[in-house]
Symmetry: C2
């Protein structure tokens, strides 16, 4: 089955991660995946945006190295690459996710 | 003397910080200020970009709450708001600066 391309962990640029996290929809996707703590299909994410917009955001999230999407049949199964990111940029995603979570609790 | 406007620390949005850090010139400014560990005038920064481009980048850095610029006479004195940012988003800037520093050492 044809799969999406993902950057290798050593190719990931922190600037691209910052850009990926500079949009509310993408942050919502990342926070939903982080909150569930497991891989999710696009349908499960229940984020109310047009499909084309979601495709665009997932493309940026994959390109930045934040999300991995595996295609199984008709399903796209998405997960955060947190373990690899922690190795490459220690503490970054942990602190960022925590801060976004705190912000969501405030709002 | 007329001064720049800066957001209050409680108005700062992490999404804007992420966006501010998604550009190589802005990261260079932030890393230079972090490396020196003190306020610096625009002249001292020695970043070789057109003045208009630097103004644009500083505007984004100020708007995001990353940088404070004080005007003294003809000088613009810039500093990172690290202490305030640490209170608002614990650990975020520390991890991000460390990761960017490691990346600069690699490259």
């Amino acid at each position: 089955m044809r799969q999406h391309k993902h950057p290798k962990i050593e190719e990931i640029d922190l600037i691209d991660i910052m850009y990926a996290l500079s949009d509310p929809t993408r942050v919502e996707i990342v926070m939903t995946l982080a909150g569930k703590g497991r891989a999710m299909t696009c349908g499960e994410l229940l984020i109310d945006r047009p499909k084309s917009s979601m495709s665009h955001h997932f493309k940026i999230l994959r390109g930045a190295g934040l999300v991995e999407t595996l295609i199984k049949g008709t399903e796209h199964i998405n997960s955060l690459r947190l373990k690899e990111l922690e190795e490459r940029f220690p503490g970054v995603m942990k602190a960022v996710l925590k801060a976004f979570r705190a912000g969501m609790a405030d709002g």
